[in-house]
Every structure is written in C-alpha cells, then in structure tokens.
C-alpha cells in the first residue's frame, strides 16, 4: 500500500483547476495574505454594530488626544475614536474596491468577448473606441462622472453618502475596464480557433452558448487574477480622490479619507502622528495582502509555471 500512496502524491491532479489551487496553496506569502484579509474582514464585520453607532460620535473635549487605553489609536480633530473610524472606514474601502473591481471585470469581459466573437469591422471599431478612451486621462473621466451624476443619484437614492459611494464605484469601475477588455479579447481570439470550439459550433451551439459554456470556463484564470489586482487599485484610486477632497462625502470615513485627514494634521510645529500612522497601517497592510494574493493567483494560473 505505501507504494500506491507515494505514486498518487507524485501524479499531478487531473484538472487544471486543482493544479492551480494546489500551486496557490503552496505559495506561503499568498496564503498569509489571504489569512490576514480574512481575519481583518471578520474583525471589521464583527465590530460593525459598535463602529456604525460610534464612527461619527464626537466628543470635542477629546479632540486630538494621543493613543491611550480607552482609545487605542487616539482621537481625531473632532474627538472621534480613530480605531472605530478605521474599522468602519475599512468596510467602505473594501466595498468601493470590490464594487469597482466587479463592475470593471463584468464590463471588460463582456466587451472584450463580444468584440472578439463579432470579429471584423465591429471588432475593429470596438477596439479603436478602447484606444481612444485610453488616450483620456482617467482622473478627468472620474471627476466628470462625479460632477454629472452626483445630484441625480442623490435624488434617486435619497441618502447622500450612499449615493456618493455608488457614484464613486461606478466612476472608478467604468474607467478601469479597458485593460480587462483587451486581455479577454486576445484570449477569446486565440480560444475561438481551438478544435473544441469548432466542435461545439458543429454540434449546433449558438455564439452565446459557446461564450457561456465553453469560453468563460477557460477565461476564469485571467479574470480572477485581474479582479484580485483591480481591488487594491480601486481602493488606491479612491484614496487619491479623497486626498483631493472629491472622494466619499463626510462624515463617512474610508482609509483614504482618514489618511488624507492624517496628512492634513501633520505640520511642522506639532504633529498628531497617530492620525496618519494608524489609517496608513490599515491601508498599507490590506493593500499589501491583496497584492500578495493577486500575485499568488497569477503565478498559480500562469500556464508557463509548471
């Protein structure tokens, strides 16, 4: 029996999915990143009842007090507990990142796949449009979208901060799908010449059936990798917008908003260092972990790595 067991463990798993999963599980930094993200998300979700009630609770007499036993991360200018704001803000940051990544992946995959399957002039026109959008500075598109849709969206939802987050997600997501569209188009172009697609076509499958049943499962690798790397990108972009004062509306915090407030609290005379340090610790470690996971997935799904 021992020989059989040994032989089994030497054989690579049958499906490419399993093989990728196994490779990913062997990647220590990626697994550490994943574990960190899981713990952080669980912590932020578990404390939500308290942070939701307390993120905007102002005690002006506590304004700018350094970290202490009752306030582990200190208090901000308005005497709000910074730890609560960091935990609550992290959820908003994650929501913005996940939402924007989901949007950009959906739009990018559909656009790229349709262009590649349509082929010819339609493909050409669609990809030239992508080229043109690439030629525009992304910050311009994001701000224009915010300026254009903020008021109608607030009217629609009726809750200003919520409308603000929705617009932000839509703006970041709708400018970052371009790369995904290009990648997917290239993949579909090479996949659609494969014998199995021809066989499906010969068996009478329509273009939608081919896309859903035969192409998408083969595209899961690049989609997952891109989506994971798009999340930290979106979170970072939100933080830039917050720094410029056009991110999420006050008093709702995100890590970007908190870091920007921290930068504003640093000056040459007295520095309220905790207001910058703690949001940056959360932001930096979370983005680092997300990037580790994304890199690990890319290595795991890369057909070139054995």
């Amino acid at each position: 029996m021992p020989e059989v067991v040994a032989e089994r463990s030497v054989l690579p798993p049958a499906s490419p999915w399993r093989r990728s999963l196994l490779r990913f599980r062997r990647n220590r930094t990626a697994m550490a990143g994943l574990a960190f993200l899981a713990v952080l998300s669980a912590l932020m979700l578990a404390t939500l009842p308290w942070t939701l009630a307390g993120y905007d609770a102002q005690v002006l007499s506590l304004g700018r007090t350094p970290p202490s036993w009752s306030h582990w991360c200190g208090c901000d200018t308005l005497g709000r507990d910074l730890l609560q704001r960091c935990l609550f803000g992290g959820l908003i940051s994650f929501a913005v990142g996940l939402g924007a990544a989901l949007l950009s992946v959906t739009v990018g995959v559909l656009y790229g796949a349709v262009a590649a399957l349509a082929g010819g002039r339609v493909d050409n026109a669609m990809m030239r449009f992508v080229d043109i959008l690439y030629g525009l500075p992304y910050i311009l598109l994001v701000i224009l979208m915010k300026v254009a849709f903020e008021r109608p969206m607030t009217g629609l939802i009726g809750h200003k901060p919520a409308a603000n987050v929705v617009i932000l997600v839509a703006a970041i997501g709708s400018v970052s799908w371009l790369t995904m569209a290009r990648v997917i188009r290239g993949q579909v172009l090479s996949l659609r010449e494969m014998p199995f697609v021809e066989a499906a076509r010969a068996a009478g499958a329509g273009p939608l059936g081919i896309l859903g049943r035969h192409l998408l499962p083969n595209l899961v690798g690049p989609i997952v990798v891109y989506a994971t790397l798009a999340v930290p990108q979106a979170i970072l972009q939100e933080s830039f917008l917050s720094f410029l004062g056009i991110g999420v509306a006050r008093p709702v915090p995100t890590w970007g908003v908190l870091a920007a407030e921290g930068v504003a609290a640093i000056n040459t005379v007295v520095s309220f260092w905790w207001m910058l340090l703690f949001p940056c610790l959360f932001l930096g470690t979370a983005l680092l972990a997300l990037n580790f996971v994304g890199d690990g997935l890319r290595d795991a799904f890369d057909p070139k790595s054995s």
Binding site: I132, P137, L140, L141, A148, L287, F292
Partner: protein, 306 residues
C-alpha cells in the same frame, strides 16, 4: 520610412476622436462657471456672458475651438479670466515636464538594476526584500510616502525645503515621491522579463562560449528583458510629464496636474479640453516613439513588419 509616415498620419484621426469625445462629455455635464447658486445674475447678463464665451452654440464652439487648437490657441479660461488657456498651459507644462522626466529617469535608474539582481538571485534575500519593498511601493498612496519623505528630509533633517518651486533644491523630494510607484512597477517588470529570458537557449549558448556572467546578464539578457519596460515607458512618461495632481498638491508645485482636477471641478471648458489635448498628444507621441525604439531594439518586430 513609409511606415513611419503612415504612423504619424494615423495620429491625426486618433487625436481628433479624443477631442470629440472630450467635447461631448464636457457638453453633457450640466452647468457652467457663470451659473452660481449663491450669486444669481440677471438673465440678460448671463446670456451675454455665455455668448461672449461661445457657450450658446455648442457646435460653433466645437469648430471654433478646433480651429484655435490647430494654431496652439486654447481660448480664454472661464475661471482665471485674466489668462488664456495657452498662457496657463505654457506656464505649467515646463514645470511638470522637468519633474516628470526626472522622476521617470530615476525610476528606470533604480528599478531596472533592482529587477535584474532580483531575477538573478531568485528567491534570495535581496529578491524577497526587493519584491516586498516594491509591493509596499505600489501599496501606499503617494501622499503618504511623500509625507513620510517630507517629515524625514525636510522637517527632520532639514536637507530640503518643505514645499514650493523655483530652485534646484525643490526638485528631489517631489521627484522621488513621484518616482516610487514607477520604480516599483519597473522593477517587477524587469524581474519577470529577466526570469523569462534567462531560461532561453541563447543565454546558455552565450554562457557556453565563455562570456563572463556579468556580460551575459547585462548585455545579452537585459536587452530582451527590457522590452516590456520599454512599452511601459510610453504611457508612464506621458503620465508623469503632464503632472501628478497629488504630488503637486502635496509639495505645492505649480505644474499642470492641478489643472486636470481644478478645470473639471470649475467646469472650465477651454482648460479641460486644453489639458486633455496636451496629455493625449504626449501619450500618442510617446507611444509612437516607443514603437519606433522597439523596431530599433528588437529585430523580430522589423521582420514582422516587412
């Protein structure tokens, strides 16, 4: 040569399309700088102002502005009424170009050697430390790394002025801040490229015929591994040369980046289109230059073209 002329000629429709898309977006956004909620003007004055700035007839404006652009005349600024957009851009662009070119040069000078050494000593201490540093470089927003540099070198050590522009001493801090994410990305690109190339047969040949390891790595391998970095340099230079709004805001640098943000927030039509056109033109020209360099460096592309 005919190929080159064709490529240059092709830039015209692309830029025209970018101009048209920008124009359509700007027109679609409601409001203009003359409609202020707190200061209502008599309707006649409002209409006279709009007529003065050709806002009453969008298509007339479209053609008139296009005609102006061909003469490097970007029209009057709606917000800074004593200035023309051409003056504003002419003042700000050289500042951004100097800052951007220094930053990208610095990023290449640091990123490429780090990437090469990481790849050669794969999974060694330098590789892991370098990769982690590079990931941190892309995981922290520039306003945080910039603030850290400011605190350390300007406030703490007093080696550089805190903010401003005008002397050579003002250049290093914003340039390093701007260079960090680029350097991190270039190091990762170089490392991946080198890992790919070092496994190639011609590297084994070069080693077998007795070339020194240094010569094999820096001359033979790097020449091919540099190609992905080269194609990244086109958009990177265009981006860096038109200014980073975050770095400019942090260090109080009077560059072009701030106008990308402010012109949209002020709905300053002339300046929006002017800055976008400057950016797009730089991007298109840089991409063309990179493609030409590509043919010079990589003989395979030349063969494919012929």
């Amino acid at each position: 040569m005919r190929h080159l002329a064709g490529r240059v000629f092709l830039m015209i429709p692309v830029l025209w399309a970018i101009y048209t898309v920008t124009f359509l977006m700007v027109v679609a956004v409601p409001g203009n700088p003359f409609q202020q909620a707190d200061r209502q003007m008599p309707e006649a004055v409002q209409r006279a102002l709009e007529a003065r700035y050709d806002m009453d007839d969008n298509w007339a404006y479209y053609w008139q502005y296009l005609w102006g652009v061909l003469h490097l005349d970007f029209g009057p600024s709606f917000q800074y009424r004593d200035w023309t957009c051409t003056q504003i851009i002419a003042d700000a662009l050289p500042v951004s170009v100097l800052l951007g070119v220094s930053a990208v040069a610095l990023a290449v000078a640091v990123g490429v050697p780090v990437g090469v050494v990481s790849a050669v000593r794969r999974n060694g201490l330098f590789d892991i430390a370098g990769l982690t540093l590079a990931l941190i470089g892309v995981s922290l927003p520039t306003f945080v790394t910039g603030t850290a540099l400011l605190l350390l070198f300007a406030v703490g050590l007093g080696w550089a002025p805190v903010a401003g522009w005008g002397t050579l001493a003002h250049l290093p801090l914003p340039a390093v801040t701007l260079a960090l994410p680029f350097a991190a990305y270039i190091a990762r690109l170089t490392r991946l490229g080198m890992l790919d190339v070092l496994a190639g047969d011609y590297i084994r040949t070069a080693r077998a015929k007795g070339l020194s390891p240094a010569r094999v790595i820096w001359r033979h391998a790097l020449k091919n591994a540099f190609l992905p970095v080269l194609s990244f340099l086109g958009p990177a230079l265009a981006q860096a040369m038109t200014g980073s709004f975050v770095v400019e805001k942090l260090f109080n640098v009077p560059g072009l980046g701030q106008h990308f943000v402010n012109s949209v927030l002020n709905l300053d039509r002339g300046l929006i289109m002017g800055t976008v056109l400057v950016y797009s033109t730089l991007l298109v020209v840089m991409n063309l230059a990179v493609d030409l360099l590509y043919t010079a460096v990589d003989p395979r592309v030349r063969v494919a073209d012929a």
